[in-house]
């Protein structure tokens, strides 16, 4: 992105600015874009969610403000801004004030590593994925602050639930991503996207596959399991419906947000929706190729890239537009799925959530990690690494073997775990009964 800007300013416009000015300018520009885009996504998402879920419930949804109600989020925002900001008397005022900031800041920071299109990543960190999750874990502190500072039992209960949930579901989320990281061999988000070129099969796994930008991880057994596990964990991280326990309105009113009003409440809302956007985006990026899609790779190859500095800038723009289109399309589809789940399911109880996370999701993702290692072993390792079975196999055969083996493992583990999980619950009930009889 910065190289493109540099090329634009010095090449196309011919200004010949010094490097530091260029850097400053491009950083400011990109930060501005990110800061503008994040709230816009949130505004769109609130509208989108309300319309979609209304349709699912045979309703129409907000359609009065502007054409088809498109200005509804703006109206909501105005309402938020004009509402009175109430701070409870017994609250810890400073912490109460800081909490929304601590919750919002990381969500905006997370945009720093999200690539929107080919070459359009604000900062291409080599540890991008880790950065993403490290930053996302900060907001747990903000939630805790909010819950504690409000000096309200519902708030505290909600905050403790939220933090317990976020901390426990970070583990399966990261474990499922590590499976992908093992296959790619890099934490850089750009690398992960680049790996997913191909057609159904990634052309890194099986060289020679035509690049249509469709070699997504979700088509592999490892990727699919990781996707499902990650998406479930993302629902918990983003406090979406089957796991929206922290703000379970039918139980603890609004959780940690109970004592917030006005724009502070709006900030929590903002953080939540921006986080949802980011989780959908990261799902799209890691498992569905991000901006990868038919045509983007070819277009980008013609443009100005670090590898090809003499390309045509027009192709960059075209690839960017197409890439952003694919990326946003996938992201919105995932948000649709989130809304769909919200429309369909009740929520779990906190202990059931913990049970599910620790007793089902984590073993499952661990098994998937093993499959990922097998996948690497089958597709990439040779005798040098001690992989002697595949010696002499053609790449297709190796790929097929990897596919079959991982599929068998993942499916088997899944079915076995459902059984074990059900059995463990029955066992617990039995143990309780036994205890009773012992007490008698």
């Amino acid at each position: 992105m910065y190289d493109m800007l540099t090329a634009l300013i010095n090449g196309a416009l011919g200004w010949g600015w010094p490097e530091w000015a260029l850097n400053l300018l491009s950083y400011i520009l990109i930060v501005t874009i990110v800061l503008v885009v994040a709230p816009l996504q949130m505004l769109f998402f609130t509208y989108y969610e309300r319309r979609v879920i209304a349709r699912m419930q045979d309703r129409v949804g907000p359609n009065r403000v502007g054409p088809e109600g498109i200005w509804q989020p703006i109206a909501d925002g105005v309402k938020m801004f004009t509402k009175e900001d109430i701070v409870p008397q017994a609250a810890d005022r400073i912490v109460h004030f800081l909490a929304p900031c601590v919750v919002v800041a990381p969500t905006v920071l997370m945009f720093a590593v999200v690539p929107w299109g080919p070459g359009m990543v604000p900062v291409d960190l080599p540890t991008g994925l880790l950065f993403f999750f490290a930053i996302s874990s900060i907001s747990a502190v903000g939630l805790m602050m909010a819950g504690w500072a409000s000096n309200n039992k519902f708030s505290l209960l909600g905050a403790m639930r939220a933090v317990a949930q976020m901390v426990s579901y970070e583990i399966p989320a990261v474990l499922s991503l590590i499976a992908i990281v093992i296959i790619v061999g890099s934490l850089s988000i750009n690398e992960i996207i680049a790996y997913q070129a191909g057609l159904i099969i990634s052309n890194r796994d099986l060289p020679g596959v035509p690049d249509l930008g469709l070699g997504w991880f979700v088509f592999t057994p490892v990727g699919f399991v990781a996707f499902v596990a990650f998406f479930i964990a993302a629902l918990a991280e983003g406090e979406r419906t089957p796991f929206d326990i922290p703000e379970a309105d039918s139980e603890i009113v609004a959780g940690y947000m109970t004592e917030y009003s006005g724009m502070k409440f709006g900030l929590f809302y903002l953080a939540q929706y921006v986080l949802n956007f980011l989780l959908c985006a990261i799902t799209a990026i890691i498992f569905f190729g991000g901006w990868q899609g038919p045509g983007v790779g070819w277009l980008y190859a013609q443009g100005i890239t670090p590898a090809n500095p003499n390309g045509n800038g027009l192709f960059n723009v075209l690839a960017g537009i197409l890439g952003v289109f694919y990326f946003l399309l996938k992201t919105y589809i995932f948000f649709f799925v989130m809304v769909w789940l919200r429309g369909a399911f009740p929520r779990l109880r906190i202990d059931q959530l913990m049970d599910f996370g620790w007793k089902f999701l984590i073993p499952w993702t661990l098994a998937n990690l093993f499959s990922a290692a097998l996948w690497v072993a089958f597709t990439r390792w040779g005798p040098a690494e001690g992989m002697l079975i595949t010696v002499g196999w053609s790449p297709v055969l190796r790929w097929l073997a990897a596919f079959v083996v991982t599929l068998a493992i993942n499916l088997g583990v899944y079915l076995w775990l459902t059984r074990v999980y059900a059995a463990s619950q029955a066992e617990r009930r039995r143990a309780e009964l036994e205890e009773l009889s012992a007490a008698a």
Binding site: D58, T241, D249, S250, E251, G343, P346, R347, Q352, R429
Partner: protein, 369 residues
């Protein structure tokens, strides 16, 4: 989870899922409920005292306001009580129309009760919206017949306000055609849903002995496995002319109550079909309600009970020979079903309270009166 100190949490009176202004003073140990004290009376409207100052007919619209979901059922019970007191005969067609209306009420009540219960479990309005959709259509029918959707005020002593309008029966038949698909869909949405199973199975168990000792009735009692139904135990109106089954649960938990409600919707549909078959034609049907505006029953008392969708609804009236009831007492199923709440919730988690409350299906208008 880890703490062992007891904490008092006030759920309500202003709370999203207390079904009105109801307050539960919950003592929790971590997330486990140790004790629960229901506090109600926030919606007390002096119903019984007002009724004693009104004439018999004037009370009819007030009974609508008891359980505002099932105004038809309330009307039925009250009309029956006054008829019993004053010895008024009800023409056959009117009886059939009454049964029809009350069974429609049962369907709409159960549809939305299931929706509300799932809402308390945290579903974001969808099952409720689906339940409401069917409810709306039945309410449209009510409006067609009585002129109002919720506060129907349709029954009169010795009949109903007016005969069914001509477009009522065809529309009802259409509704009945769609009803099985609708109930099946509701079941498909929820019945096997693993999350719902997790939340509902083994939660809020009300053993049959306890249920009996609390005097619980309706789907809550049947969910506990006791096939007690006033329509069967003491057939009133023309209920002895219909075939229908009584669904009961096995364990008495939230899931049983949910399933019993769904099955009862099917049975109600069966009854309505039989009503439509047997409905006598309009000749000599309902009587003119104007003649009954000054009911002056002889001195005495009467108790009439019906199987309202929420349970056994009874009206006890004492007459001193004037146009006003001397004593007027409502046996409200919501109120009596609510009494075992504390016992039902003890030992479960905080999040289960609202689900258990939702599965009892209360209406505060009836609880507080």
């Amino acid at each position: 989870m880890l703490q062992t100190q007891e904490l008092q949490v006030n759920i309500g009176p202003q709370h999203p899922s207390t079904h009105g202004v109801f307050r539960m003073l919950v003592t929790v140990d971590g997330e486990t409920v140790v004790d629960l004290k229901p506090v109600f009376g926030y919606l007390h409207r002096n119903h019984e005292q007002i009724a004693e100052a009104n004439s018999y007919l004037q009370n009819m619209p007030y009974t609508d306001r008891l359980d505002y979901f099932n105004s038809m059922a309330n009307n039925h019970a009250y009309a029956m009580a006054v008829e019993r007191l004053a010895g008024i005969e009800v023409p056959e067609r009117a009886e059939y129309i009454r049964v029809l209306m009350v069974e429609l009420t049962r369907i709409l009540n159960h549809a939305s009760a299931v929706g509300f219960m799932i809402n308390d479990m945290g579903a974001w309005q969808t099952p409720l919206a689906f339940g409401m959709r069917e409810r709306e259509k039945i309410l449209d029918l009510f409006e067609m017949a009585s002129g109002a959707r919720l506060m129907c005020n349709y029954f009169r002593f010795g009949g109903v306000v007016r005969d069914l309008p001509p477009e009522f029966i065809p529309n009802l038949r259409e509704l009945l055609r769609a009803l099985p698909a609708y109930i099946d869909e509701l079941e498909r949405l929820l019945r096997d849903n693993e999350i719902l199973l997790q939340r509902a199975i083994g939660i809020g168990i009300l053993p049959p002995e306890v249920a009996l000792s609390y005097g619980v009735s309706g789907p809550v009692l049947r969910g506990s496995g006791i096939p007690y139904d006033v329509r069967k135990a003491e057939p009133y109106s023309v209920y002895d002319r219909f075939d229908f089954d009584v669904p009961i649960g096995k364990v008495g938990d939230v899931y049983d109550r949910f399933l019993v409600r769904i099955e009862e919707m099917r049975q109600s549909k069966r009854i309505i079909e039989q009503v439509l078959e047997q409905l006598p034609d309009a000749k000599g049907g309902h009587i003119n309600p104007k003649a009954r505006q000054n009911v002056r029953p002889p001195v005495g008392d009467a108790y009439a009970r019906i199987e309202s969708p929420k349970g056994e609804l009874g009206f006890y009236l004492v007459s001193d020979g004037s146009t006003k009831p001397y004593r007027y007492k409502v046996r409200a199923p919501s109120f009596i079903n609510l009494t075992p709440l504390a016992d039902m919730c003890r030992g479960y988690k905080v999040a289960d309270i609202v689900v258990i409350l939702g599965s009892i299906d209360i209406v505060m208008g009836e609880v507080d009166r």
